[in-house]
Amino acid sequence: METRQQGQTMFTGILLLIGTVIIVQLWLVGASMDALLANETEILIPAAIISFLGLLMNAGLLYYIHDFDKRVRRSNPAR
């Protein structure tokens, strides 16, 4: 399999991962809003921390994509 085809499959997987994390974050925002309106404030900070961990994961995946592109360009300058 060529590098580009491998990359496409991998990026599809990475995009799915990022999308899944975002859906979890959206759910966290909804649940936090519900909790805030119900005065159940004890879950708000854990929700914010988990959401931040999701952002770190997404940022890590994005960094990996950029790093992968750099390596591909270095090994094949024509692209």
Partner: protein, 176 residues
């Protein structure tokens, strides 16, 4: 002899190393378009992820630093005026907040917000079943705890804290 202006494509034929002017406006080649779009989508999603974190942090901030609400002490009724399995409507803490005072089967006085936690219809006391009933979607709440026992509501009715001094019953706060 006047100079004839040539189109960009002819310029390139004459000088293949020179890129046409339109290349500045459309820098991505057709074969790379799909390749770039995925990266842009990943960036966009990560940016959205950052906004969601900000929303969560703002809510956590509000939840942590929002001061406890102060409720007035307000006379509700004389306890002797509420018969067994009876109920009475009042408003607390403001005139726009309808509440219901009920005497449960056990004889205790309980008070709740009259606003159903499903879609804000007014609940009524069904003494024979020991419940507060929302007629809109048949939501039922326990008269002793205010928790939902049937129908679509999932959150309990806000409870009005009562203080009884002799025969007089006062509302002193709201427990959500």
């Amino acid at each position: 002899m006047p100079e004839v202006l040539k189109p960009d494509s002819l310029k390139i034929l004459n000088n293949p190393s020179q890129e046409p002017q339109w290349r500045e406006d459309f820098p991505i080649r057709w074969e790379n378009d799909h390749y770039v779009t995925r990266r842009e989508l990943a960036k966009f999603l990560t940016l959205g992820s950052a906004f969601l974190v900000i929303a969560n942090v703002v809510m956590a901030f509000f939840g942590k630093f929002r001061g406890a609400e102060q409720y007035p002490r307000a006379f509700v009724a004389n306890a002797s005026a509420i018969p067994e399995s009876g109920s009475m409507l009042f408003r607390y803490p403001t005139d726009r907040d309808p509440c219901i005072l009920v005497r449960a089967k056990s004889g205790e006085l309980r008070a709740y917000s009259q606003t159903c936690t499903h879609l804000s219809c007014a609940v009524v006391h069904r003494a024979q079943d020991g419940v507060l009933s929302c007629p809109c979607h048949m939501g039922l709440f326990s008269e002793t705890e205010g928790r939902p026992v049937a129908g679509p509501p999932i959150r309990p009715l806000p409870r009005i804290l009562l203080d009884q001094q002799g025969d007089q019953v006062f509302a002193i706060g709201v427990e959500v």
